[in-house]
Structure formats: structure tokens, C-alpha cells
Subunit: 206 residues, 2 copies
């Protein structure tokens, strides 16, 4: 993204290609076994080439995570657009999209939320992307409050309540422990609906 407007040089847009290859490799294995060398190999450049585009390995990881937050924002926006003027349905749809996205790229989700990267201003782009995603959620709830279907109260606290519920389910799903804990087969859609319904119950205005 940062480089995508720059003119191609030598390789083309190695910055983007590295990010893209790294995201793919990340899902093929896991965070700790993702190596700069493997990424370079996948792209077809020497294993030192990435250093022209990323200060070090952590910078690359931060770039991947930022892309993840960006994609999350896109999904939230689409959820809102799917159900204009119906914050309850928007929230439910957002929940489904959150879960689906995480299931599509579980390792990236771990990277985003696993406390692996600093969340402060070390990587401004990462922080900005993360904030934007949370803003998307807050907007839905704010809308619901404005039209009187969600209860009043601290916006961030309500948003965090909802987020926690979905986030918890999501991580339990990608953690893979549920199939061995629950006595029934895991039906992702059913579980997500049940949990968002529960959350909406606690959110609705009296």
C-alpha cells in the first residue's frame, strides 16, 4: 500500500509482493515459523532483498497485521451497507464477517491480537488500521443508540462488550478446542448467530 503508487523499480513492486507472500506463508504454517528467508524464496529474490523494504522481521509482521485490520474494516463497512438503517442486523452481519475472516486467516488473527506486536506508536500504520476497525464497530452502536434501539451508556464500553463476545467465540473457533470440548459438532454459523443474539439481548434499550 505504502509503495503501490511508487513507480516499479527493478522487480516491480517488491514491497507489496513480499507482504502478499508473507501473508500466504503465514497461513501455511504459523507465526513463529514464518521466516524472512522463506518469504524471499517464495517471491524469488535473495534472502536479503526484503531488508530494502522492511527494517526487520517485526516490521514485516506489522505490515501483515495492518493489512488484516484493513480487511476487517472493509468487512465492517460491507456489513453496514448490507442492512441500511438496521443496526441490529448490521451488528449480526458484522459478527458473521468477523468470524469468517478470522477463519480464513487464523494465523493473521493471532498476529493481530496475540500481543506479539507493540500496539503503541511504534508502527503508526498498524495503529491507524486497528483504530479504524474499532471505529467501524463503534459507529454501528452509535447509530443504534441514536435511533433508540440500543441502550444508552458509554459507547466504548458497549462496543467492547460486543467485540469481546464475538472475539472470544472467534478465538475459540480458530484455537480449535471447541470440537473436542462440545458434545455436538461445531456449526460456526449457528454459534455465531446464537452469540450475537445473546449480545444484542444485553444491548437493547429497555
Amino acid at each position: 500500500m505504502k509503495q503501490s503508487t511508487a513507480k516499479p523499480y527493478h522487480h516491480g513492486d517488491l514491497h507489496q509482493e513480499i507482504l502478499c507472500a508473507a501473508s500466504e506463508l503465514l497461513e501455511d504454517n504459523n507465526i513463529s515459523s514464518l521466516s524472512l528467508r522463506a518469504v524471499a524464496k517464495k517471491v524469488g529474490v535473495s534472502h536479503t532483498a526484503p531488508y530494502r523494504h522492511f527494517k526487520d522481521k517485526e516490521s514485516l509482521l506489522a505490515g501483515i497485521a495492518a493489512l488484516g485490520y484493513d480487511e476487517l474494516s472493509v468487512q465492517l463497512t460491507q456489513a453496514v451497507e448490507s442492512y441500511p438503517d438496521d443496526p441490529s442486523k448490521q451488528l449480526q452481519e458484522a459478527g458473521h464477517r468477523y468470524v469468517q475472516l478470522a477463519l480464513k486467516c487464523p494465523q493473521c488473527t493471532q498476529l493481530m491480537f496475540g500481543g506479539i506486536l507493540p500496539c503503541d506508536d511504534t508502527y503508526p500504520e498498524l495503529k491507524a488500521s486497528g483504530d479504524m476497525a474499532f471505529d467501524g464497530l463503534k459507529t454501528i452502536i452509535e447509530e443504534g443508540q441514536a435511533c433508540g434501539i440500543f441502550k444508552k451508556g458509554d459507547l466504548e464500553l458497549l462496543a467492547l462488550s460486543v467485540w469481546s463476545g464475538i472475539h472470544g467465540l472467534t478465538l475459540l473457533l480458530i484455537g480449535g478446542s471447541l470440537p473436542d470440548i462440545l458434545s455436538v459438532p461445531v456449526d460456526t454459523r449457528l454459534l455465531t448467530t446464537a452469540i450475537t443474539t445473546n449480545l444484542l439481548e444485553g444491548l437493547k434499550a429497555n
Copy 2:
């Protein structure tokens, strides 16, 4: 645990000591930088000694995670005992204890839920400990249903709803992203109370 009844031999109870030292080292750093060699060094034995007690590194990690689930079960039991005959308060207390425990040992929590270890029967002790913890939660909800203050419905689904909410908050807290996302300082107790209250709202009988 497995060995604690065995008579001391040579070192004493190296199995336990290794588990203990590994748990401590785990919190000092993180999962991927925990090494068998460092554990052995901390205990004061050669770096191959752990192989007499654990098949490989993953087995050791499974042992640590199992201890984590056991401690979780203890906390749930204590939550129940703190408020006899009041499942709502039991649940709230359980939430607080869940969060507190995770904050005390965030890396172990990641190990337990991060999809790092197989959840099937590869490590029976691990699976048994995990199941027991989930049973503790189900028991609280079952009790609440029995005395009519929680709504009817699939027990596991309700338990999972509650668990997801608390689990999500917990992982967001230990992920460390909240202080940089929320505009107000993070008050763990307040957040936990708000979220469990919300969850109870969605759980109560009509």
C-alpha cells in the same frame, strides 16, 4: 502431578520442578522463545535431563497447559463456593477470576487457547483438564436454569456464549491492544463487571 506420588529419585521430583520452572520461564518471555535448554538450566540439570520426563518439547508444553486448566478449575470451584445458591453472582465471580488468572499468566493462557497444542487425545491429561474446566462453567449455568433465573435452552450453547464474552475480553486485555484503542484508561475490574453484567442480561429467564 503425575509423578508427585512417586518416590524421589536422584534429583527429587524433577518432573514437577521442570514443569514449575517452565511455567515461570514461559511468563518471563513468550511461548516461542521458551526452550528446553533454558528450562533445564533454570532447574540446574543438563539440557538433556528433561528427556527422561517429557517425550519432547511439545509434551512439556502440554503439561504446562494442563496445569493451567487445573488452576482454572480451582478458580471456578472457588467462585461457586463464594456465593452458594446464587448462580448469577457465581458467574460474575467466575468471570473476574478467569480474567485475573489470565492476567497473572498471559503466556500460559495463549498456550492453552492459541491453537498451539492439539486438543484431541494426543495428550489425554490435557484434554481431561480442559474438559473439567468447561464442566465447571456448565455446572453454574445448569444450576441457574434449575432454579429458574437463567433461561432454558441448550446448555452448551449458553455456556459457550458466556465463555466467549469473558474469553474475548480476557484475550483483548492480555493482547495489550486495549490501552491504545480505548480513549479512557483500562480498568480491568470495571470492564469485567460491565461485560459479565451484559452477558447475564442475555442469559436471564424472561
